[in-house]
Symmetry: C2
Subunit: 366 residues, 2 copies
């Protein structure tokens, strides 16, 4: 038992000062590690601090310095491995620079996102990293800047917002994926996303309020159209934002008069659900149905067939976002940077390939 803490209240700078017989200012200087103090004073104070079990109160410290050493992170769903990796990247980079991470889940809901941001700003985080659920309502994002805190957008840039962002090259990746499918002879290609519109129907690319998804759909539509496929938009399916929804939507899609011969899943959660259904319904993959997904989730390599994916550098994206934010916190004032990280097309076995066996993945830079 080396606890000297008299069950009363935590020791403060004042207590330490009193015990060591120096002024509060001097004690604070050694305890806070700033200013100049004599070695003798330092020793006495440290000793007293030790005896009292002194622990600094970061809250009080933040209040006077105006910095909390904390960055706020708002993501759509921490349960999604995509965000899991990103948060890990952020977290590692943050700690390397001595910052903490406060995490908030928006559930892809703008109202929740708005509240989370408000709270985080009220808690005086030094800066924020946000994966905005939509890029239409951006008032709460602008408020971050008004509050004097830097903001970095993760995975989803917003054209109307002049702030740093880190995204993957979604447009190009979607084009490559669609092209691959078209080259393999597919004419009925569906694109399934968690994004939604009030009507749950896709009408116009402007209805898609998540930037990354919109870019993917644009790429998808364009390549399809170029290939002379009629009525591409009808193949865009919205609202697969829960596993149940994804399931219903996919079953519906596969049971239609003209089912798709290939599906592009906008995230790995959707791909997983599609995979399950294909299995349950005995739909042979890739022969009867080809599948491609964004995000090289760990499991995509071990299924039969293994899944062809767009590999996004998710961890790196998180890390880069944190780095950029910390640069701003350290005084960087350059113009907003829109960092776009390259992706890779990892060709595995879930796309019907005319005479190639499953001989390990073929990886292509995009």
């Amino acid at each position: 038992m080396k606890e000297a803490q008299p069950k009363t209240t935590a020791a403060t700078v004042a207590d330490v000062a009193r015990l060591s017989g120096v002024s509060k200012a001097t004690a604070a200087r050694v305890l806070g590690g700033y200013g100049t103090v004599s070695d003798k004073a330092r020793d006495t104070v440290m000793q007293a601090a030790q005896a009292l079990g002194y622990r600094p109160n970061e809250l009080a410290r933040s209040m006077t310095t105006g910095r909390s050493g904390t960055i706020g992170v708002v993501v759509g769903d921490i349960e999604n491995p995509f965000f899991g990796s990103a948060v890990r990247g952020i977290s590692d980079a943050a700690r390397a620079s001595g910052f903490n991470v406060v995490l908030a889940n928006s559930g892809e809901d703008v109202a929740a996102e708005r509240m989370a941001i408000e709270t985080l700003v009220a808690k005086r985080v030094d800066g924020l990293i946000v994966s905005p659920a939509q890029d239409s309502a951006i008032g709460h994002l602008e408020d971050i800047g008004h509050a004097g805190r830097p903001l970095v957008l993760l995975d989803r840039a917003i054209a109307a917002l002049a702030v740093d962002s880190v995204t993957a090259d979604d447009r190009q990746a979607a084009e490559a994926v669609t092209r691959l499918l078209v080259e393999r002879g597919h004419r009925h290609i569906a694109y399934v996303t968690a994004c939604d519109t009030p009507t749950h129907l896709y009408r116009d690319t402007r209805d898609i309020l998540t930037a990354s998804v919109r870019e993917r759909i644009e790429g998808f539509l364009q390549v399809g159209a170029q290939a002379g496929i009629a009525d591409m938009p009808r193949w865009v399916r919205l609202g697969a934002n829960t596993s149940d929804a994804a399931r219903r939507l996919t079953i519906d899609l596969l049971g239609a008069a003209t089912p798709p011969s290939a599906i592009i899943a906008s995230d790995s959660l959707i791909a997983l659900e599609i995979f399950k259904i294909a299995r349950e319904q005995g739909i042979a993959m890739p022969d009867a149905l080809s599948l491609v997904t964004f995000h090289d989730a760990a499991w995509t390599a071990v299924t039969t067939p293994s899944v062809t994916v767009v590999r996004q550098p998710v961890y790196d994206m998180g890390e880069a976002a944190a780095r950029m934010l910390i640069e701003r916190l350290n005084g960087e004032t350059c113009a907003p940077r829109r960092l776009i990280l390259p992706t890779q097309l990892v060709e595995r076995a879930s796309v019907a390939v005319p005479g190639t066996a499953d001989a390990g993945p073929r990886i292509r830079r995009l």
Copy 2:
């Protein structure tokens, strides 16, 4: 543009008070939502607050109230889907009660864990939820109590620590899994875990410093011994704490003079690696190698063969932990509760089963 914020500094209670012509105390009352104020005063103040773009400073608020409305969470690896789900559970429960979550990654390193806890306590989180990397060094965990903050242990209880904990029924689950394997005729069953000892060798169950893993190994050893299998301990393999380590270790295991006919993977990350290797090396599953893992990760249902798993109620565990913590924060003072949630054995197709086809999972309560 409805920003009235004069680029100077954020509006404070004093500013609002001044503009609305009332005292600081009154303004604080309406802004803070406490005490009693006349409707008229409320209106004026709210209006002034609006005009000034007043945002409360939670830091200052926390300092006087002593509560921050924040709970700290320390997990081993947020990238691990297990913790992803748990954190989601915590996060949802926390928000439902108006709490925020500060997340820290320990990387399963005690020193990092200690630092994370120290920081969180210094930041005056109201309470903590921790998945302790080891149950040997518990000084820093005891400090949490000394600092007057409640602590809830997640996934790993510590006998020597009298605090609330939420775990799965690891011991029983391990017994059931091992029994299943034994019943299927396996005599060479390996147990692979991320846990490690200084020598990387398993000698004694007391060397295992992670409670949940120790319980599992105990169950594993006991059932094996009961079944008359000699030299069980040699089948325990430690240190699969990165995908590379898991890979090396598994390759080593499978290449040995007497390779195991079945492997129990302590987490889904290890199982994934084993699955990959079996595939690469053309080892037929489940015929040549059976596999069982703890944690019903999403992908385990879609592989070929699908993987038999111990389903732990991970999200619920996180949720329960947060609930218990919040109860403490609301004044609950009962004796420490050790909540042990039941698991399920989900029998799928990765264990050689004498004449049963893959006809959907068979689920057993444990």
